[in-house]
Structures are given as C-alpha cells and as structure tokens.
Symmetry: D2
C-alpha cells in the first residue's frame, strides 16, 4: 500500500529537527491547497497576544504529529512487535497528518460563536470535492472514508485510533513540545524519545510498560502545566473574550440588517449558517484579521471599538472573584446597567476548566481515555490506580473565577458604584 | 530622563528568555497601535514557505533588539566604562526598539515593486501624527527627531548609532539568533553573552577587545551561513519572485484600467503612489494574504494563477545556470516567446549577492561599517587586517545564477525547444 | 563589607552560561586548596556508572549555588524589597558557595560506612587551620563562625538560611538543573528565572507570590522525577551497595589485622576513626578509585572481587520483590548460606525512600521546611493546602523492594534452590 | 556477521539523546574491563581546570563515535546506496567504538613526556591478552587484526577508514559536539543530522554532495573555533606545561636514584620504559591525581611545588610575546639564571599550532585528508578549490607566542631584572 519515494524528503523542523517523508501519498497530501491552508491557522489561536513567539501554525503541528506517529510505528516495526497491525501504517500516518484539517480561524472562539465543530469540517474536507479526497481515493476505494473513521474514532481497530487520538497520543505529544518551544516556556518539554520507547502494542491497543510510569506522570504534569500556565493564561482568555464579543456583535448587526462598510463573501455565509466546503477553505486568520482591521472604521461604535481592542491589543482587564464576590455577579451587572454600561459587552465572567486525565468512564470509551500500564506478568493496570500524582490531577480541574471588563469605561463611572462593588475593581 | 516603572515588567521570549522593561516610556511605546502592528509583519517575509517554523514577527525581533541593547548598556554601566555617554540610554533604547517600525508587508518584495523604503517609513511614523510620536514628544521637545536621527544614522554621536546599526549591532545579533531559533537551523547560534562581554565603548564608538577576535569571526560566519542557507534559500527566492510578479501584474492591470473584483483602500493608494501614514499602517501581511486569496478568483488568468501559486505554495521551479548557459538567456527568452510562453511572467533570472563584511569604504561611513579591535596597548586594528577568515568573506559574495520558471507550462511545450535549451530544463 | 573586584570575573558554565564573580572575597575563596578539592568529588557519586555523562563535580555545583543566590539577591536589590537585609549579602554568598565543602568521596556511601557527616566536616574546614578560614577571618572577626552558623541552620536570621537551605533553595535549584544537564535527562529542567521572579523576602523569610504556585509545583515535580528516575536508579543503587560492601570488607580486614598489599595514609586514619582535617582534605575520589584498582590484586578474594566489580562495572543484578516474596527474605538468606554463599556479601535488600516535600512538622523547623504562598491580601498559605499535586507527593515516598545479588554466583547454585526461591531469581 | 540482540539496548547520552546498541558483539565490547577503563580518562585532559564542566570521559566520546557511525550506515542502508559495502558494517562499528582504546591519562602530555603513542597502545590492547581481543576473535578468525588495520588506516577499503578517521569523520563530529556541550561553549554545535544527510559513499570513499558545501564549511569553522577557543586556551596550555614539568622532574629524580616517599607499580615501569599491556591498563587519571597529591609531601621542593600547583590549580601565568620580545628569549633565560631562578622549571615558551584542513598532500594520503564534493554531473572537486572560507583556514595555523612562568617567584626578583625584561612581566 505504501508507495515509496525514490529519495526520502525532509522538512526542517525546530521541534523534531527533521520531518521525514518516505511515502508518495504523504508527500502529495502535504502539497494540497487544503493542507497548505493550515499555514494560515495558528496552532494557539490568540495566544500570540500573550506569548509573542506563539505564531506557529497548525501546518507545522500537523507535520509534527505525523512525524511522531512515524517514529512510533518505526520502533514497533524495528522490534517486530507482533500486536502491531503492519497493514495499517499508511492509514495511521494519513490520519495523523490530517486530523486537524478542519480547524477554522481562531478555532475555539469561532466554533463557540457559530456553533461549529472542527472535526465535522475535517470529515467534510476529507470526503468533499477536494484535492485531499482525490489523493486518498487513489490509494484505494474507500480509503478516504477509512481515514475519516479513524479521525472520528469509529474505526474498528482501536489501536490505530489510539495513536492518533487518546489520552497519550501523537497529537498531544507534539503540541506540548511545540507550544513550549514557540512560547518559550519550558513546561512542555517532555522526553518524547523515552515515552515512545515505553509504548507497546498489546491486544488491540497501545499500552505503557510499567517501568514507564514516571515518564507518563511527567507527560501528564507537562500537560497540566501547559494548560494552566499557557492555554488558560488570563491575557489569552481576555483576547478570546474580546474575539467572541466581536463575532457576537457582527452577527447581531448582520441579523438586524446593518450595512457593513466592509464585508467579504465567506463571512456572509457564516452569518447565514450556510458555509460550503469551498468557502470554508477561504476562511483563515489572515482574512479575520483583515476584516477586523477594516471594521475599526465601521460606524457601529461597539463593533469598531471591540475590533480596535483586538487588533491593537488593548484587551479587557480582569479581577479574580473571591467566592463571596462571585455571588454578587447579578448585582454587579445591575450596577453596570444603571451606570450606563452595556453588560452584554462590558463584562464577562470566565472560569477555565480542564480534564487532564479522565478516569471516570465506562464502556467503549475506555480504550481511548485510560492509560494502561503493562507489568512484567502481563497484567494491565489503569495508571491512576498506582500513581498518586496522576490521581491528584484526575477529574475536572477548575480555575479561579475572573471578571473581565474594559478598564477605562469602568474607571469613568466607578465613583457611582456602591462601595462593595467599587472595591472589587480597585485591588 | 528615565522614568522607572514601579515594578520591572517582562515578556517571555524564547530567544532571550525574558525581555525586561524597566522604563515607562518603553512600556508605553510597546503598547501603541503602530508598534502592535509589527505583530502582523513576519520577520522573514516569505521564508515560512521554506522553513515552516519561520512565522515569527518583527514585533518579537524589535523587542529582542531592545533587550540586547539594554543588556549591553547595563554591562557598560556595571563596569563604569567612562567612554559610554550615560545620558543617551533612553534615546538608544528607543531607537533600538523602533528601528524596524516602518517595515511593510513582505518588505523586500513590496519595496522593490513599489519603489519604497522602510527606513523612510520608520521616520514618517516617528514624526507623523501617531501614538509613537506623542509618547516620544512627552519625553522632551525634539526627542522624536533625535530617535529618527539615530535610525537615519545622522545622530552626532556615532557611538549611539553603532549599537543600533553597524557591522556588529544589536539588530544583527538578534536576527541571527531569532531566525535560527524559528527556522530550526543552528547556524545562527552565536554566543551573544560572550560578544557583549568583549564590546567596549572607546573614543566615541563601539570597538572590540582584541581577545574577542574569534568571537567576532564566529559571528560573521554565522551571518554568512544564515544568508546562504536561509535568507537566500532557492525556494524562498522563488516565492519572492512569484510575489513580485503578482505586484507587477496587479499594478499593470490597475494602470490599464482593469476592474478588480476585489480591491481594498490602502492598495489603491499604493498603486497610485500616494500612501499616507494612516493608510500605510493598515498595510500588513494579513491584508496581502487576504487580497491574494480573493484574487485567485479574478478574471485575469495571469493574476489569478500567480496568486494561486503563492497561496497554495506551488512555486516556480529552478535550474542552476552554468556560465555557458547564462550566455544563452536571451535565446531562451526568444524560444519561450516562440512557444507561446510569456517571458514577462514565465521566467526569471536570479542571483543573490551579499556583503557579509564591508572593508572597502572611506570617510564618515567608516565608523559604522568597520569592526575595530582594541589591543592591550590601546591600538585599534580593523579586523580583516588580522583575521584571514574575515578577509575570506569581505567584499561582495555572489551566488549561482538560477533560472526560475513554472514547471508544468514549460513541460507542456518543451518538446518544441531546441535540444540545447531543452537540455537546461531536464537535469 | 563587599570588596569589589576592578573587573567582574566570569566562569563559563553550561548551566548558567556564566558564573559572575564581583567580590574579591568570593574570588579568593574559590582559589583555595580546599575549594579546588571539590573538583575531585563528583556531584552524583557513583551515578556515572548509570549515566555516563554524570562526571560533574561538586566544584561546579558549588559555583552554581553561589550564582543562583547572587541572582536572587540581585533581583531583590533591583526591586528594592525592603524585607531583604542588605547587609547580609556577602554572608549569604559565602554560605552558598561553601555549603558543600565537607563532602567526602562517594559521600553518601562513605558516610554510612564510617558514620560520618559531611556537614560536620564543612564546619570543621570552615573553622579549622585552612585557607578558607584565613580568608573568611579577614572579612571580619567571627565571620567564619557566622558562615558556619548559616550552613548549620542556626543563624539568627532565617531569611539568610532560607536561601541556602530550605525546601526551595539555591542548592536544590542548581542540582536539579545541573544533574539533568549532565545525565542528559530532561526531568530537572525547571524554569529557574521564573522561580526567582516569584520569590519574595517577607517578614524574615523567603516566600512565594501566589501566582507562582504552578512554578513551585513544577519545581517539586522536577525534584520528584529526578529522585525516582536518576538518584534512585536501580543500577546506581547497585553500585552503592557494592561500594559499601567494599568499605565494610576493608574495615573488617583491617580490624582483624589483615596486611594490605596496598594502603595509603588517610585510609588508615579512616579505619581508626581519627581523621584530621588535613587528612580529610586528601580523601578524594581519585584516591578511592586508585586504592580499589590496587586492591583488585589483594589476596582476600572477597575484597578483590568486590573492587573488580566496582571498577569494571560488573555490578550486582536485582529482582523486585513482591510483598509475598519480601516475607521470604529470611528463608532466602538461609538457602544462600546452605548453598555455600555468604549472605553478608552476596545479598542486599534495598528500598529507597524520599521526602519530596515535608508538610508534617512543628516549631522552629517550620521556616525551613514549608513553602509559603503570599496572596494579594498579604495572607500566607502553606502550599500543600492549596495544591492537590503538592499534597500528592507530601510525606514519605517509598520505592519497591529490590534484592541485589551477584548473578554468576547465584546461577552456579540455583539448581539446589527450592522451587519457590529459584523462581524469584528467574523472571 | 551481525548477531542481533533480542531487544535494542540504549545508553542515555546528553549529546545524541540515546546511544542505540543492536548487536551483541558491540554490547559485550562495551562491558569489558578495557573499555570501562576509558571512564577514568578525561576526553579533554586538563581542560577541566579551565572549563569546570569538562570532566567528560573518553568512554562517553567512544560511545558517541560509535553512535554517529551507526547513524551514517543506517542512512546509507535506508537509501540503498550501492557504493556502500554492507558486509563491513560490524567492522566499521567496532573500529569506531574502539579507536581511542589506547589513550593514557592526560594523553597528550604523558605521550610527549614518555615518548609514547596512544594508537600503538590501541593496537596492542586489540591484539593483546585482553577481553576485547577475545570478543573480537569470536566474531571470526582475524577479525581483531582487521579492526586494528582500520584504526591504523591500512585497511584495504578506504571507505571504511574514511568513516572512522578522515578530515570529516565520526570521531571529529562527536568531539566537537561533546566538548562544546560539556565546556558550555557553543562553537562546536554543528548540525550533525544535516552533515550526515549530505555524505555519499562514492567509488570507494566517502564524499559530500555539492549542496552540502556550506554545511562542511560550518563544520570546519566549528573545528577551528574549538581549537582556538577551547583546546588551545592559554590556561589549559599552562596546566599542560605544569603537568609535563612534573613528569620531567619525576623521571629525572628517578633516573638519579631519588627515593620517592610514594611510588606505585605502573609508574616505575613507565620511568623504565617497559610498560606491559596489563600495567598500562592500570594507568588512569585517578592514579595520576592520587600520585601527585601524595607527591606534594615529597622532600624534593621542585616536584612538591609543581604537584601542589597542578592539584590546587595555582598554574603558571603567561605574557604574550611581541616579535621583538620573542628574540629576547635567550636573554630572558640568562637573566632568570642570574637571579637564582631555574630556567628548566621556571619558564616555558608555548605557541600552539593546528592544521584545520590539510590541502597539501599527495599519494595515498589523499583519500583521508581531502574533503571532496560531488556535483550533479558526478564530478569531484576538492573543497578548498571552491570555498574561499575553507581556503582561509587551510594549511598550518599558528597562535601567538606565550611565555609561562610562576608569578610569585618572578615577582620576588623582578626588581633585579633589566628594565626591558622587567617590562615584559609588568603589562
């Protein structure tokens, strides 16, 4: 099924040094319009406003996930592990490479604002009238569907799904390393070679040698730290809030018949909820930034100001709410309204939460969400049973409640606030 | 003149770990619209099409140049070097921070296509009706002009200019390190702490302790390697060629009255050569990418195809021309024309050249272009007099001549080429 | 009290890049015989037999602890924190530099074998007839005693002791980074700049800004991982066991009047428990290795074989004991004896344990062992109260029980073992 | 001929991350007494007295050379290069692993003092009564001799010799990277993956793809920088001078019948020039350091003082001699003698020189010393013909002349020196 290139090709990559491409199908997939589009979608959305180095794209991440998957399979082959289904190599590599294909611009925010889902879009692109689809279809009849089923986690061999999408998959390994590299923090610097060495294909899924327990703990802690120190950074959250408010305002204006000075085709479809695959592929972060830059000159003062805030990085400030203060939110909103502020746009409550490792589950999901250790007697143990550290981060983790607001606006009216509420905004 | 912050502020940076801001003026300059715009200008233009990690912005580079300058001055102050003019600290830091302010999108290509110059734009922004200008003017009357004169290299104290712009300046030190980091190559990894330690303020300029000669050799070699292995990479050159052809085609179409399906304000001014500062500040790489993405749908087939090539990274191929082949260029163009190709768009000759270290000069320029060593007897020597390595890369360095062309188009007609010319395209 | 050098001096260091020495006293201390001796004591004892890169010395670690302390104090001074006692700078730096002065060769093993303590020796060297003592005494009368009291943790200002010796001190920060660097593992790569930035002198001790909680978690996890993956590595434990058996055998032989073919002065004093400071300073790892190399030729077969094992790295093998097997240890020893083995030398049980963070304590010890967070309301919280992760590694951590043995010897007689016991040795 | 292990074994290595051992013979060779001895020989001799991190051993370097060779051969095999003789894999790997086996303690100094050669000793150990010899002989009759002939560069296939010992070999690649890592300088950080990718087996030798020219330039410059900034560091040269003076003094004393308070077997043989292989294997740096430590207490004041200087790092100072001063050396020596100094021990002139790339050669040597580029027309060019940079460092490079001397001794009598000579010592 593999169709080897005469000569191995490489991409220079800061994280893995070189990405090695040995198969013609992989090479052709990378050179499609749809895959090249991922260069214009940042891996970390608005995080570049907090960590100025974080401009790296989903293109580089996708290559990285492919490369890690290739290295894992290569080790499995070198050691002749009999539980690894050799015939699934190309399928696994394609799924690894393409798993993020459907991400839109500032993915998490736009998905929330327009009720979309990037995985659905990945499937639509894989199966639609695209270059990707053509190339996959040339591999064999139905191959594109198989790739889609791996990404949808419905493929009948969980071991293939495991590598691409599980609690310990190539996706997470790459993003921890890559996001750490580009932000400049060092929390994500896991020992990936060691982790790869302790993986074992075993009875239809990927498990971990018992002696690799500490390496897995280290990986889960890296993930935990990256969430709380990078992904949930309060400045990044602020930029996401401003971003969502822009989408919300623009949609409201559109629905209310507002005439935009500047509008561009794919956005209209988005507002009308009838985006085609072709249009979706034109939605990238360059377009969003350009639109916002233009909208700064819109007549609507709310839209104009929000766009200016986002583009010039004058984000919302925040205060952390103590439990008692949290109970006063309703009151705060009232006061805002009384003072002429607009609670729909001038205040937002945020509390990030994460599930670093999910131990509470049942049924089919087990094989994806649990990390299993394999001891020398070939017994399997779920890792949180033996590791107190893993146990300490299992289940949902909640961050502090934060109230975000436009500082100057609040300052202009704070003298009219009741003391107890004014106090919250003057730390 | 310095106006210290209560608390030092930091930016996390992958190259310098932290960027330290201690002065209120610097802090406010960073938060202006004009400086934030640099986030949307890539440091390496189209290089991201060759090195997928190279998405870093001029924003991060500018912070880096500021930080290196800060560290150098801090060492000068710590060691009480009497030749360093202490009162120039804030001026030097501002010039370091703002020296790249006027860069446009895909700077080198757009400057060539529209005959502009980023330094002129830096000066216009510094002196124009901008937030930057306001903040500088608050420091003292005429301060903005002083910053401009340092950047224009006309300031009356060459020692200040030296730090920001010379053969061994903070600008080059940062870009070597930063570009190496983000592309993932290691040629640029100079020992910046060591270089900083061997710099000495001496009689009105910055010189190098004799014992630092090898460190300077290493720095110049790093620069040499980065030019030939990164900045002049043939794939990057190809993308720049395609980019320039797009600008050329669009301008021609505009001048010939072509009606664009998609057009946007600042571009019109660009075509008409009457861009204001306000419009210039809206020109960023997001806008250019968005315009090109839209132009793929233009009726003009040349513009449409070039934009598609650029956005989907189907760049021009190249062959290296041997000296004899180079003499045949005129003939090649004739053949192209005869075969129905368009030599204006279907062929480009390129030969990069660089001046790693310029030893041939005279007059005022000396103090900027030469690197001087200071021996223990306080004698000064120009470095190429003592280093054979530096001598080997002094003066203009030329690369090979390459002919770039759209592969499929040539392949479609190559059977009609004379043998000698067909041979060039079939290595 | 500080006596500045004309020119800052630097040591090139892979971990901190440069170690900066600005004070004459520090410079002179480094150049004493006693401090230079630390070059001949490895930081990680026998770990080089597991991680071949781990040949780094206590000399480099001591410089590193000094450098971190210097950086912390420098930040305190730069930010004018009023709770930091400026007058204690030189004292703190000297204590940081000299805290490990008394370490002997293969410290942990030799201390156990001969019932010594490296801290006692540090004090004896500080207060004895040494170059170190002379230099400290020149600072001021009683200064050597003050340094000793900081190292002994009895100095009356806990904030000084905190920096050098606490749950979050310069010592630990350096060894995590340094041991990770030289072994090549990446578990210890903490973000030291970030940790330094969140430290605050506060009411007589060093505390941590609340926002630094995750950074401290990361540091404690790094420490945890280094213990279990490096310091307690089973191969290293094996080498320590062989080492202790050599010391034990040699001492026994000496006490029984055995005539050594090769003996050297400081060892005799060690056997007779009357080592002087002068002799102690001659005890280094070169001497121990040389003695062992010579002892391979001793007539006593036990001593000879153990030394050969250590020097040629033919260490004891191990098996992990399941709980039921652990109960059989007495029986195993019996069987060993019956089969002609020598249980005193042919078997050792080992179970490492560690106290990553000690939350159970009281009285004066509190200020050293607890890590306190300082919130924005200036309230102090002990970290394990707020961090579930810290809680998960608080208190004593136990490793598995392992039985170490000389493989060939056991294999030669294993056929005579009862089935249940033979089974343990044939996994 | 290869005898694969069931399971690949790895060593953790800071430079290559993991060293991979797949063959049983390699595994067994590493575990011999003779190979383990390399742990007690530093890779960089006395450099640890200049760069405190440089305590790494020839053991780790030897593993590194093996690993690079393994990676190169693995790439050759993966790409099915027909010019690579597959059957020589094990031979090449063994020669790579064992090429430094015969290094003695502080190799360069001891070889000079006692007129020995480490390559001769490597051959003697390979062919002597050693564990290494036994294991090699088990591979096949005459295999040990073949390994020896590769190391002696007389093996009949130059392509095998090329990989282990040429101008661009695995040995140099490893030591540049490794020495840079442990000293902490960054001059040696070559892009080894890139260099490996441009190597080609071609008509019986290893050549370089033309497009790899800049990578080779970078490698040669790294080598150049490491020589002048690390290997020839004046402090290291000073320590080597003191070391050679110790050997000289001890030998003289021995020849004159002096009775040493402390003497040890292998040293006597060394003085009498009749060292056996067995004795040689006991000569390691621990032994030399131990002997010197003991000799500090010898009655001979010259030996005692030199040993104290070496062990306590009170090395000789140096001045650089200007050309005119160099002509006065004879006079200086006279003056020293007149003032009661001993010119045999109180002065040394040193001028390091190096041959970074040797382009002047002829006959058989060609295939080892030249680096050849292979262009797309399969033409070979010697690299200095096309690279001006390589040309600039071809041929012998000389350093400055330095005069080393014991500072206090000269200071005690300098007032009696003639002005012109006193001037040299008072910069």
């Amino acid at each position: 099924m593999m169709n080897l290139l005469n000569e191995e090709k490489v991409f220079k990559d800061p994280v893995h040094n070189y990405i090695h491409v040995q198969d013609m199908t992989i090479w052709r997939l990378i050179n499609t319009n749809e895959f090249q589009r991922l260069r214009r979608i940042r891996q970390l959305g608005t995080s570049y406003l907090t960590f100025h180095g974080a401009e790296h794209s989903r293109f580089s991440h996708s290559l990285g996930v492919y490369e890690i998957t290739r290295q894992i399979i290569s080790l499995f082959e070198r050691n002749h592990y009999s539980d690894w289904p050799k015939e699934e190599k190309l399928l696994t590599l394609c799924a690894a490479l393409l798993h993020d294909l459907g991400h839109g611009p500032f993915s998490h925010s736009i998905e929330e604002a327009f009720d979309m889902n990037h995985e659905d879009w990945t499937i639509r692109i894989l199966l639609g009238n695209t270059q990707i689809h053509d190339i996959l279809s040339e591999v064999s009849y139905g191959f594109a569907d198989k790739v889609a089923s791996v990404i949808a986690r419905t493929y009948h061999k969980p071991i293939v799904v495991n590598l691409v999408s599980s609690a310990l998959d190539a996706d997470r390994m790459d993003y921890l390393l890559r996001d750490a590299y580009y932000t400049g923090v060092n929390y994500g610097t896991i020992d990936i070679d060691r982790i790869i060495r302790v993986l074992r294909p075993h009875q239809g899924r990927i498990v971990v040698k018992e002696s690799g327990m500490h390496a897995v703990e280290d990986y889960l802690m890296a993930r935990y730290q990256m969430y709380w120190q990078v992904y949930f950074h309060p400045v990044t959250r602020s930029s996401e809030i401003v971003l969502k408010l822009i989408f919300k305002r623009a949609k409201d204006l559109y629905n209310n018949g507002y005439t935009f000075e500047f509008m561009i085709a794919p956005l209209v479809s988005l507002f009308e909820d009838k985006v085609t695959v072709e249009q979706y592929l034109k939605l990238d972060e360059a377009l969003i930034q350009t639109v916002f830059m233009q909208w700064i000159s819109e007549k609507d003062p709310i839209l104009s100001e929000l766009c200016s805030r986002f583009m010039h990085r004058r984000l919302y400030k925040y205060v952390e709410l103590e439990p008692l203060e949290l109970e006063m939110v309703h009151e705060i909103i009232q006061v805002f309204r009384q003072c002429g502020l607009n609670p729909d746009y001038d205040v937002a409550i945020d509390s990030p939460s994460d599930l670093p490792y999910d131990v509470f589950h049942s049924g089919d999901e087990v094989s994806q969400k649990q990390i299993l250790l394999l001891d020398r007697q070939e017994r399997l143990m779920e890792i949180s049973e033996v590791s107190e550290i893993v146990r300490s981060i299992s289940g949902l983790q909640h961050g502090k409640f934060r109230l975000y607001y436009p500082e100057e606006k609040i300052n202009a009216v704070i003298s009219s606030f009741p003391m107890a509420i004014a106090h919250i905004f003057t730390p």
